[in-house]
Amino acid sequence: MKGSLGTSLVLHTLVLTWAMVSLSAPAPMTVGDVEALPVDIVPIEEMTQMQQGDKTAPMLEKPAAKPTDNQKIVEGAENAGNNDIDLKAPPTPSKKPTQVETAAAPKPSERPTPTPTPEQNEVKDIAPEETAPKPTEMAALPQAKPEPTPPKPEPTPEPTPAPAQTQAEEIPLPSSIPLPAAKPKPEPPKEQAKPVEKPVEKPVEKKPETKPAETAKPTDKKEGKKQETAKSSSSQKSDFNADEIASLLNKQEASGGGAKRSASPASTGSTKPSTASKLSLSEMDALRGQIQNNWSTIAGIEGLQGMVIRVTFRLDKSGMIIGEPEVTSTGGSSMARRTMEGGALRAVLKSQPFQNLPAEKYDAWSEVAVNFDPSELGL
């Protein structure tokens, strides 16, 4: 036994020394250069607001809206688009822009050549009055000029002679007379497109050219008249406040679309940036705390089990309640409910003005609903 014990000891020491030497230290794992991984803690809403892109476009690394042609940068723009003014409405590209270009472009080219304006002024006196009902037809006509126009010259020629006689006399009048008659109705029905460009050219051309243009009259009276009827109305506008109207109507691109520029290729994402703000927990707690401090509860009331009182009210930006808070309640006995409703309402009214609410999130706290749960207070 002693011998075997000795051999065992010797063997163990041999094995252990071998283990110490050969298994001394396992080769350390080569991890390479461990670069510090920067971790940003980002609120999720910022992430979702960063997802602005184009719904139909293919997925790319970074969501981006359709590239915009207009690269003029508008500060504070949130919605992607070609507009100069940031509008929340999504762009409706198809119809309106085309109308604007097709309808408006050809006319200026035709108008300047005939511009038998002097007569227009004359005709205006009568034309607007008579054509007042017509404009509805007229609105449709101008594009299909060839056919509908011929009938029109007939009515106009008759009146023209009369005013022609009183040309000189009535010249001052047109400015005054047409105003009330022509303004209100005929204009709006007429193509929205027209006013856009007319005011720019006509007011400049017509007033100075009225006299030289008279020479042009005789050449094409018919053409002139056709347009006279059409332009009589428009020229009337130009007479009084064409510039104002122009400035008002010039926004033919009020078709929607934002002013945020995008240069990167369109990539999938949501078209709307989510701008909804929410109160953070601490802000909600602050609001709740204010109300809770003012909520004096009456101990020992029975019938509070399952009672929930909901007080809804609107706040203005200074944290004051607008109007009367609305109190609804469910559960519990009616007696207790009445008591607790009053308490809750008092608590809300007492705790105004609500403070510590971030002004930039006004839309989140403009309307507040507070749930009171008095059931826990039941003793």
Partner: protein, 239 residues
Amino acid sequence: MEQVALEAATHDVSLWALFMQAGLIVKLVMIGLIGASVWTWAIVLDKYVSFNKARKQFDQFEQVFWSGQSLEELYRTLGERQNNGLAAIFVAAMREWKKSFERGARSPIGLQMRIDRAMDVTMAREGEAYEARLGSLATIGSAGPFIGLFGTVIGIMTSFQAIAGSKSTNLAVVAPGIAEALLATAIGLVAAIPAVIAYNKFMAESGKLQSRMEGFADEFSAILSRQIDEKLQPRQAAQ
């Protein structure tokens, strides 16, 4: 922004370093387990040698026994020596036979019973010798892993306490403590596995030897009973 960088592990993780870093309890457990391993292997070697020797002696004795040599002669040659196994049984039986016969035992049945009992006692003693220390092998085999596990649990406990103290969950801080703790379980397994295997092997071996002894005892008992009948009957007839 929080920056987390992994430091290079500076701990020495060689076996000796792990042992030296371990706490007192874990060290004791490890030393105890190493001792158990030494003991296990000592027993294994001892048993291996002794079982081999016993088997050889069995073979030799059986050869001599069945060679047709006179039992008296055999007894005389074996009687003076320290005997093991079959020889011990033979010597015990022959001694009893001699004693009874020389004093002139009259009852063959009583003589037979005495011889059987003498052989049984010797057999039991021999069997005891074969199974000696196999019990400690069984103990080491079953308890070794638990002892190692105990060391591991203690080691991990202390290393977690250290982590809690250092307030760092860096793997480089955690790893050495756990490695050193696991070393205890490793040593426990190293001691226990051979112990279990050796225990099973030597138990089977010892059973084989014992059954061999029993067989021999039965056979020898039969021979002796025949001898008794042959020797006692003429004596009785003479009387």
